[in-house]
């Protein structure tokens, strides 16, 4: 295992501490239990947005804490959901009296730990709602599975619901927006290489030099299918097709599009994928209102990419354009 780390057990603590040192104007890091909070939290009268999940997906979620996005993020161990204590203490630290919204990626562990936290907080009189993100079209529906995984759509939910909360929307309203974004987002990802969880020390799966995995999640899980390596254009078609179909996108509609790197993919390659995606969407008469190309929700050093599309309307685009100032996403400020 080759990583820029000190001790395996300290990886998440030290990385979180480093982020706090790099962005003292934006975030404050709490160590025990571990959470990252907005430097100016609690913002009185504002709905507090809290997310979290396993680490190894950076900049998600800690990089999205700040004005116009999250009030707190709870980083678990690598690829392991956080524990209820983290969400409970984070919520107590950042809630501004207008309620708390949990943004939870749909994984059994995340769901159960956030559920426990919500139960504990409700018992203390803090109002908590939860919105699940479950946008991965590589997973069949919940009749046969634990339900679709939450992947790239999470970035959109955090940005857009964050803008609504920043603008002073009520808990009901922020929840409505978050659900709207979640329901209108779809993603699909692929891997050229596996990744190595520090505590395990060896790659989670092995791929031959001419193979790739299609339909992966963000935890180094093998995907739905292993196949021979294809060209970037073919891969983009394989990812974009199911996303567009599943969203039922029609000519004339608008989207916010993300081409996301899994952590070890050069930006150059992501732009090659974006080039093809733009072509596919244009051909179908779908307009890209806004886009992101880069590493936004990763799997450690995995090479690969994912495509996320959000069906957008004027409301969502307006909230998308609202100022955001976090370690990883910044505009209008």
């Amino acid at each position: 295992m080759k990583k820029l780390i000190n001790r395996v057990e300290a990886v998440v603590d030290e990385a979180t501490e480093g982020m706090g040192l790099a962005h003292p104007d934006l975030v404050r890091v709490n160590r025990e239990p571990r959470f990252v909070a907005r430097a100016d939290a609690p913002v009185q009268g504002k709905v507090a947005l809290i997310s979290g999940g396993g680490s190894g997906h950076e900049p998600l979620h800690g990089g999205y804490v700040g004005r116009g996005m999250l009030d707190a993020a709870c980083p678990g161990e690598v690829f392991t959901s956080p524990v209820p204590d983290q969400m409970v203490e984070a919520a107590k630290a950042v809630h501004g009296g207008a309620g708390v919204l949990f943004i939870v990626k749909n994984y059994t562990g995340d769901v159960m730990n956030f559920e426990l936290a919500a139960e504990l907080l409700q018992a203390e009189g803090i109002e908590v709602r939860s919105v699940l993100v479950a946008d991965d079209v590589a997973v069949e529906n919940s009749l046969y599975t634990a339900g679709r995984r939450g992947v790239g759509g999470t970035v959109f939910v955090e940005k857009i619901a964050g803008a609504a909360a920043e603008a002073g929307a009520s808990l009901d309203e922020v929840e409505r927006i978050a659900r709207k974004v979640s329901e209108n987002s779809r993603s699909m990802g692929m891997a050229l290489t596996s990744c190595t969880v520090p505590a395990k020390g060896s790659p989670t799966f092995e791929l031959a030099e001419d193979e790739m995995e299609i339909g992966i999640g963000i935890h180094g899980e093998p995907g739905r299918e292993r196949m021979k390596l294809r060209s970037a254009d073919e891969i983009t078609e394989m990812l974009a097709g199911p996303v567009i179909e599943d969203l039922g996108l029609k000519a004339g509609e608008q989207v916010i599009a993300m081409v996301n790197g899994m952590g070890g993919t050069p930006l150059m390659e992501l732009y090659i994928v974006y080039r093809k995606l733009a072509g596919i969407l244009q051909q179908r008469g779908i307009q890209v209102a806004r886009n992101l190309v880069g590493n936004y929700i990763t799997s450690l050093e995995m090479q690969g990419c994912s495509i996320t599309l959000l069906r957008a309307d004027e409301e969502l685009i307006r909230l998308w354009d609202a100022p955001v100032h976090t370690p990883a996403l910044r505009w209008g400020v």
Binding site: T80, Y107, T108, G109, A199, K200, T204, H219, G220, E221
Partner: protein
């Protein structure tokens, strides 16, 4: 009869077995999950050992300490699941200082109910429930037939083992392995193996004289 000493030995032995099988559990999880089940369980049980209350603690106190450690240290699916299991077991133990065989069975039954409420899985979904449920049934069944606790726990362990084996050919419909569809076939569910270790620890420590290797 099972007192606080046996319960403490059971917890120690479970932690020991998890530590011994940590890499194996993680390797199973690497095949159909996310390569952390061994690390998760080990982190939680080491924390539990540190937090175990000392002299004078009741079985319920001990079980509750494990529950809280698992809930606050594991994360992932197994933390809330095993955490809830130990919490319910503690509740079932109540204020008793010694547990009759029937109490022990009730305690495992409560634990299983907790896992199923939290995780909403039934048998055949390729989860820890596939080992836990038959083990509890075997335990109750044997005791019902008049067997001693040692023998009944041995039967539970064997049932857990069989149950764990039964996960191998299954497609998963709960947990991370469900994302793999057909590709999950041919792999043992990691949580079913940690459940086997739980029943192995029980058989070795709670079964009276039969529990030869009871904790350090």
């Amino acid at each position: 009869m099972v007192g606080a000493g046996e319960v403490r030995a059971f917890i120690r032995r479970f932690a020991e077995l998890i530590a011994e099988h940590k890499d194996e559990l993680t390797a199973l999880d690497a095949a159909i999950g996310d390569a952390d089940h061994g690390t998760n369980m080990d982190r939680g049980l080491q924390a539990a050992l540190e937090r175990l209350p000392g002299e004078g603690a009741t079985p319920a106190d001990l079980l509750k300490a494990v529950a809280m450690a698992l809930i606050s240290k594991v994360g992932g699916a197994s933390g809330p699941l095993y955490g809830t299991a130990f919490l319910r077991a503690a509740a079932a133990a109540g204020s008793k200082t010694t547990l009759e065989p029937a109490d022990v069975a009730a305690l495992f039954r409560a634990a299983l109910a907790g896992i199923q409420e939290r995780g909403k899985a039934t048998t055949g979904e390729k989860t820890m429930v596939d080992a836990f449920a038959p083990a509890v049934e075997a335990l109750e069944g044997k005791l019902g037939q008049g067997a001693g606790l040692g023998e009944a726990l041995q039967a539970a362990l064997e049932a857990a083992r069989k149950g764990s084996d039964s996960t191998i050919p299954l497609v998963a419909t709960k947990g991370r392995a469900s994302y793999l569809g057909e590709r999950a076939r041919g792999h043992r569910d990691p949580g079913s193996l940690s459940t086997v270790l739980l029943f192995q620890a029980a058989a070795e420590t709670l079964g009276g004289a039969g529990g030869a290797t009871a904790g350090a």
